[in-house]
C-alpha cells in the first residue's frame, strides 16, 4: 500500500458505471479519472460550468506568474479551442483544463440545476468525518479552517449516489468513521459508500457494512479504526491493489 491515495482512487473507479454523469471533488476524488477502465464513458461535471471535462492540462502553466501570464496571452479569444486549453477554460480549482468532444459549457445556475435537480448520477468527495447514518462533515474546523462550503452542500442535496474517498483515519490516527460527527455537517444522511485504503463500507440501516477489504488487512484492524457500528459482509470482496 505504497500510495494509499492511488489505492483509494483505483477502488472508487469500479463504482462508476458507463454513462454516469459525475462530479469529482478536489484531492483524491480527482485521481479517480486516471483509473477508469477502457470503454467506461463517464461525463465529468465541473461546478463552474462544464459537462465533459477531460482533465487538467499536462503542462503546468501555473508554475509562476510570468509563465501563466504568457500562456493566457497565447490562449485567449479565438486563438485556441477546448482540446488545447484556453484562459477561460478552468476547473473549480482555477486550473486550466481540456474537454472531450460532446462537452458543453453553461452558466452557474444551470450548473447547480444539475446536482440539485437530481441530474447528476454520482459524486465523489473527500471527508473529515462520516457518521453511520450517512452524515458528512468535510468543510469546517471551527477556529482552524475557514474556506467556506463552496458547492458541496448543493451537490450533496440532490445527487443520488454519494461516494466518499478518504483515508480510514485522520493524520493523527483518530477515526473518521463515527457514530456521530462532531464537526459541523456538510449534509445529513447523504453518504452511500465510503472507500478507504483498507476497506469499502456501504451505509445501510445506520451502520457501516464492510463489503470489501484490502489484501492483508484484518477485521480487527478495521474495527479498531472505526468508532461506530460495523458489520462485515458475508460475501466479502477483495479490494484492487
Amino acid at each position: 500500500m505504497a500510495n494509499y491515495r492511488e489505492t483509494i482512487a483505483k477502488n472508487v473507479a469500479p463504482l462508476l458505471k458507463d454513462g454516469d454523469f459525475v462530479n469529482l471533488g478536489v484531492g483524491i476524488p480527482t485521481l479517480v479519472g486516471n483509473f477508469l477502465p477502457e470503454g467506461v464513458d463517464i461525463i465529468l461535471h465541473g461546478e463552474n460550468g462544464s459537462a465533459g471535462i477531460r482533465g487538467r492540462l499536462a503542462e503546468n502553466v501555473y508554475e509562476d506568474a510570468d509563465t501563466f501570464l504568457e500562456w493566457e496571452r497565447t490562449h485567449k479569444g479565438e486563438m485556441t479551442d477546448y482540446t488545447v486549453g484556453h484562459k477561460d477554460l478552468l476547473d473549480a480549482g482555477s486550473r486550466p483544463i481540456t474537454l472531450v468532444p460532446g462537452a458543453c459549457n453553461f452558466d452557474i445556475v444551470t450548473s447547480f440545476t444539475m446536482p440539485r435537480g437530481g441530474h447528476l448520477d454520482k459524486t465523489v468527495l473527500g471527508a473529515m468525518q462520516v457518521a453511520q447514518n450517512g452524515d458528512l462533515a468535510n468543510w469546517l474546523v471551527p477556529g482552524q479552517m475557514a474556506t467556506g462550503m463552496g458547492g458541496a452542500m448543493d451537490i450533496l442535496a440532490g445527487t443520488k449516489t454519494v461516494i466518499i474517498a478518504t483515508t480510514l483515519t485522520a493524520k493523527n490516527g483518530k477515526p473518521k468513521l463515527l457514530r456521530e460527527c462532531t464537526l459541523p455537517l456538510t449534509a445529513v444522511k447523504c453518504v452511500s459508500t465510503v472507500v478507504t485504503e483498507k476497506c469499502i463500507a456501504e451505509i445501510r440501516d445506520e451502520r457501516f457494512h464492510i463489503v470489501s477489504m484490502y489484501p492483508g488487512v484484518t477485521e480487527q484492524e478495521i474495527r479498531e479504526a472505526i468508532d461506530a457500528d460495523v458489520i462485515f459482509d458475508d460475501n466479502m470482496q477483495i479490494m484492487v491493489e
Binding site: L90, I108, R116, G148, A187
Partner: protein, 225 residues
C-alpha cells in the same frame, strides 16, 4: 439600440464608499479583472461584496478580487469559498473581514431570485447544517426545505469575451458563470469586454446575455493582469 460604451474612469464613479458590489468570476475564471484593478486604485472603501469567492492569491494573480482584499477595501463579503485566498482567511479569522458563507447553488439561486422578481424560494441545501440556523423551514410534499431570500446589489461588474455596443454579450467556456444572473440583480450593471463590436455584429441566437440587462460597456485593456 443605444451605444453603452463608457470609459473605465467613468465606470468607477458608480461605486461609492459602502456600495454593495457584485463581481462575476469563479476563482480566476471570468473575473472582471480590469474593473477590479481600476477599483483597487481608488480610495473607495467599506465595500459590501457579493461574489463566488474572494479571488486567487497565489502566484501573484492579485487583480482578481484578492486585490480588494489586500487593500482592505472590503468590510463585508457574501461568498461561497475563500480557499484560494489565504489573506482573506487571515482577515476573517482575525475578525477584520466579516464574511457570510453561502452554499454556491443557493448563492446563485438567491441572485437569480433578486433579478427575476422572486420573493424567496425553498431549497434542501443546508438542511441540518449551520446554514439552517435562523432560517424558516417548510415541509412540502413530506420533505423539509429552507426558505432563502433574494440578493441584489447597487453595482455589478461583469466580464465578457465579446460584446456589442448595446451590451449583448458572449462568454468563453467557464467564464460565463455568474454573468447571466448578476446582470439582472444590480441597479447599475457594468460589463467589461475583451472585444467590443458594432451593434448588429452578433447574431441574435449567439447572444448569451441580452444587452437589455446591461447599463454600461467598458473595453478591457489588452494586457491580462
Amino acid at each position: 439600440m443605444k451605444n453603452k460604451v463608457i470609459t473605465i474612469d467613468k465606470a468607477m464613479t458608480f461605486v461609492k464608499d459602502g456600495s454593495s458590489l457584485m463581481m462575476t468570476g469563479f476563482g480566476q475564471s471570468g473575473s472582471p479583472r480590469h474593473l477590479i484593478r481600476a477599483l483597487s486604485k481608488t480610495d473607495v472603501k467599506n465595500l459590501h461584496t457579493i461574489s463566488d469567492d474572494l479571488g486567487v492569491a497565489e502566484h501573484g494573480f492579485d487583480q482578481t478580487i484578492s486585490a480588494l482584499v489586500n487593500n482592505k477595501q472590503i468590510s463585508k463579503a457574501e461568498c461561497c469559498f475563500i480557499g484560494q485566498n489565504p489573506e482573506a482567511s487571515r482577515q476573517y479569522i482575525e475578525g477584520t473581514l466579516d464574511i457570510d458563507f453561502i452554499p454556491m447553488g443557493t448563492f446563485a439561486e438567491r441572485i437569480r431570485a433578486g433579478g427575476a422578481g422572486i420573493g424567496g424560494f425553498y431549497t434542501k441545501t443546508g438542511i441540518g447544517t449551520v446554514v439552517e440556523e435562523g432560517k424558516e423551514t417548510k415541509v412540502i410534499n413530506g420533505e423539509k426545505y429552507l426558505l432563502e431570500l433574494p440578493l441584489r446589489a447597487d453595482v455589478a461588474f461583469l466580464h465578457a469575451y465579446k460584446a456589442d455596443k448595446a451590451g449583448n454579450a458572449i462568454f468563453k467556456y467557464t467564464a460565463r458563470n455568474y454573468n447571466t444572473i448578476m446582470a439582472t440583480a444590480a441597479d447599475t450593471v457594468i460589463l467589461e469586454a475583451e472585444k467590443i463590436v458594432e451593434i448588429g455584429d452578433i447574431e441574435p441566437d449567439e447572444v448569451q446575455l441580452p444587452g437589455v440587462f446591461v447599463d454600461y460597456v467598458v473595453e478591457a485593456e489588452e494586457d491580462i493582469l
